[in-house]
Amino acid sequence: MNWKRSLIAAVAAVPLIMLFAWGFTRDPGTIPSPLPGHAAPLFALDVFAPGQPPLSRPVGDTVRLADLRGQVVVLNFWASWCLACRDEHVVLSTTARRYAERPVHFLGVLYNDRPAAGVAWIAEMGGQSYPSMQDPGARTAIDYGLYGVPETFFIDGSGRVAYKQLGPASEVLLAHIVDSLIAVLPQHPTAPATKSGS
């Protein structure tokens, strides 16, 4: 029995086992997004669910990301068939209402769903305080590297994606990120204090 060779062979196994052990420390299902830190992809999407005053927009109105430069944008992708979206719906709606006077826009984007189903879902959930848009062909979703719902993107005042949230957003998280992004907004003399109209 050649013990010296045995020892060398056993040591050779260690890196592999360490690799496997390391494998437990991360989630194979999440895909890190390359978007944070880069310019948020522009979009021009039509509203299908108006939201509620004072944040509402008329149905059929086109929302362009380019118009919202200089303010914080919270872009939330959702679907009526998405169970986890139910968890964050109330949080998003109430936070949006709370920040109504602040330079931040909450926007919903419907993902792979029929607008009629989306409207019915909103009614079932007791209303949505901010408008939601439809995304034909999921072009915008793909532009944002979506691979599930809900996903929420936080866009800062200079139009860059600051943070991507996978899964339902909590109230604490929402407030924290929105506050920090508002705090670093460039001070623009023409920046509107409220968001009536466009």
Binding site: I31, A79, W81, D113, A116, Q134, A138, I142
Partner: protein, 147 residues
């Protein structure tokens, strides 16, 4: 009657998946897919790129093979980008910029990734060397003829 109830429940179920109503409601779901290209050359080029891109909501299948809605929409996007004159590499680069390297079904052969292409080749070459050397040694006549 019963069949109508079934169709209604089917409709509700279909709504859950968001698949139905492609014609019924119009605007929302993938109108581009229905112009499924008569242009077979474009189709072949789309297939060639689509087999290299991973479906983000499936397990390891390409967007060419996956029946998932997002995969079909990505395929449509690939087709459209190719039609407007982008090269396959540019199309792939677009998806990499959105989803990261993960979206490619085989790693780009650069940097560390070269190992995955080089090691198997080295294994075959190295193995061939070992086999040839061993065979030479084994077919050599014995140096000391047995008594």
């Amino acid at each position: 009657m019963k069949r109508n109830t079934l169709l209604v429940s089917a409709a509700l179920l279909a709504a859950l998946t968001g698949r139905a109503g492609a014609q019924a409601v119009g605007a929302s779901v993938a109108p581009v897919a229905q112009q499924a290209a008569a242009d077979s050359v474009l189709e072949a080029r789309t297939n060639a790129v689509a087999t290299q891109l991973r479906c983000p909501v499936c397990q390891g299948v390409s967007i060419q093979d996956s029946p998932a809605e997002l995969a079909q929409q990505m395929r449509d996007l690939v087709r459209e980008q190719l039609r407007t004159g982008k090269s396959p590499d540019e199309v792939k680069a677009y998806f990499v910029s959105k989803y990261g390297e993960w979206i490619l079904l085989q790693p780009r052969a650069s940097g560390f990734n070269i190992l995955i292409y080089a090691l198997p080749v080295l294994a075959v070459v190295g193995g061939l060397v070992v086999v040839v050397v061993a065979m030479r040694r084994w077919t050599k006549p014995p140096e000391n003829p047995s008594i």
